[in-house]
């Protein structure tokens, strides 16, 4: 008597357990996403016909975490991309809906897969502030030893005089490139060491003396390329 009751109860318990495992339908998997270093609005992540607008966190520097509204079923594939991103032959040809002034990518963790491959779907995106070139021309350089600096953030940039095929100094214009500057930060190019027997001064940039801010105008222009370093014989 006692046993006959226990047996159906056990069967029921097993059924209930199976149902929890997915016996009542396929298991579902929420697509969890963590995005680091979002500083500007505009990012839209997209997968399986769902879009999610990722805004900067309330507290700067914190990660943004969310799950797409609808979980997907076991066996369904997913590929979380900035909306509209296209990849041709392994190369990103359109970045998609990125934040303003930033580019987000998923460099270390896979952003695509099949639900059920892993116990939990965790997508990671990391955003970096876009950087823009800071370049120009050195005019009249004949002496050795010129180095240019942009504050203390980067290593100084040495510039050598132009030479002809015989190795003789010609004094022709020499292009130079400082380290690229992130959007929203200032730059101020100075002469760190003067060339032998010459004195060089920096002009150009947004303020006319080699300084400025990598702002919207500079971003639109694709960077600051109008720096001029003019070198003359020391008096």
């Amino acid at each position: 008597m006692k046993f006959s009751l226990a047996r159906p109860a056990l069967a029921l318990a097993i059924l209930a357990t199976l149902a929890a495992c997915g016996g009542g339908g396929k298991a579902t998997f929420p697509i969890n996403v963590t995005v680091s270093n979002v500083q500007y609005p505009g990012l839209i992540l997209s997968t399986n016909g769902m879009d999610y607008t990722v805004n900067p966190p309330a507290t700067a520097g914190q990660d943004v975490t969310f799950a797409f509204p609808n979980p997907i079923e076991y066996g369904q594939t997913y590929d979380v991309i900035p909306k509209g991103q296209t990849v041709t032959n392994g190369t990103v040809t359109a970045l998609g809906q990125q934040p303003a002034h930033q580019t987000c990518s998923s460099p270390t963790f896979p952003k695509s897969g099949t639900a059920g491959q892993l116990a939990r779907i965790d997508i990671r995106y990391v955003c970096a502030v876009n950087t823009f070139p800071l370049t120009g021309t050195v005019k009249g350089l004949t002496g050795a030893g010129l180095t240019l600096a942009n504050g203390s953030t980067y290593l100084p940039v040495p510039v050598s005089p132009a030479t002809d095929s015989a190795g003789a100094v010609t004094g022709a214009d020499v292009p130079f490139a400082m380290n690229s500057v992130p959007y929203g930060t200032t730059y101020g190019v100075t002469v760190l060491t003067q060339p032998k027997d010459q004195t060089c001064t920096v002009t150009g940039g947004a303020n006319g003396t080699g300084g400025g801010t990598m702002d919207d105008a500079a971003e639109k222009a694709g960077g600051v390329t109008n720096l001029v370093v003019t070198c003359v014989k020391s008096s």
């Binding site: 600096a149 930060t185 100075t190 400025g212």
Partner: protein
């Protein structure tokens, strides 16, 4: 009797020599690693108290001359540090050698930093903005000289103070620093001062 002792000791000595030759650099694992925050000569590393290895330009990695064998104990220590570093430490520097452990070693130094102070003589009573590259400081209008602390600068690292925005109707010029034009290389002196004078 005598000859047997001689023979035995000679043989064992020869054996010992051969064995020590095997252990001291005859292995097949190269011991080395990445180096961070080193900008000049002076960092010397040792393994097990010897095999001195200087980290040279471009100061991004090091490699000991003597190879090690699997299961050899290695213990990498810092013998000397560059003059502009406050300390250098070895990560995962002590272990038994195998194909995993030899790739976990790295060395990181901390570069000394010094204050960079700008004195702004701005009797015009108009605010200006000065920058050291990406380090930006707004200076409020003041008829007295104002002392502005910029972010600290690495010893032996560059700096270059410029005026980002000239006040309307005035011109501010930058002097001082090790080159005289507001830029230079940070020495070991704690009191590097640049002067901005507006007229």
């Amino acid at each position: 009797m005598k000859s047997s002792i001689l023979r035995a000791s000679a043989v064992s000595l020869a054996c010992a020599l051969v064995l020590s030759a095997c252990g001291g650099g005859g292995g097949d694992l190269t011991l080395g690693g990445a180096v961070q925050n080193v900008t000049k000569d002076g960092l010397v590393l040792q393994n097990n108290g010897g095999d001195d290895t200087a980290v040279v330009t471009p100061y991004t990695s090091f490699q000991f001359t003597n190879r090690v064998s699997t299961d050899d104990q290695f213990n990498i220590t810092v013998k000397s540090i560059p003059s502009n570093a406050s300390e250098c430490h070895v990560n995962n520097g002590k272990a038994r050698a195998n194909y995993y452990s030899i790739y976990q070693v790295s060395v990181a130094c901390t570069i000394k930093q010094h204050a960079l102070t700008v004195t702004v003589n701005n009797p015009t009573g108009v605010g200006i903005t000065i920058v050291n590259g990406s380090d930006k400081k707004d200076v409020a209008a003041d008829t007295k000289p104002v002392s502005v602390s910029m972010s600290p600068v690495n010893e032996d690292g560059p700096y270059g103070i410029t005026v980002l925005t000239q006040p309307a109707g005035h011109t501010c010029t930058v002097t001082g620093g090790s080159t005289g034009n507001g830029s230079g290389t940070m020495g070991s002196d704690e009191n590097t001062t640049v002067t901005v004078t507006c007229a």
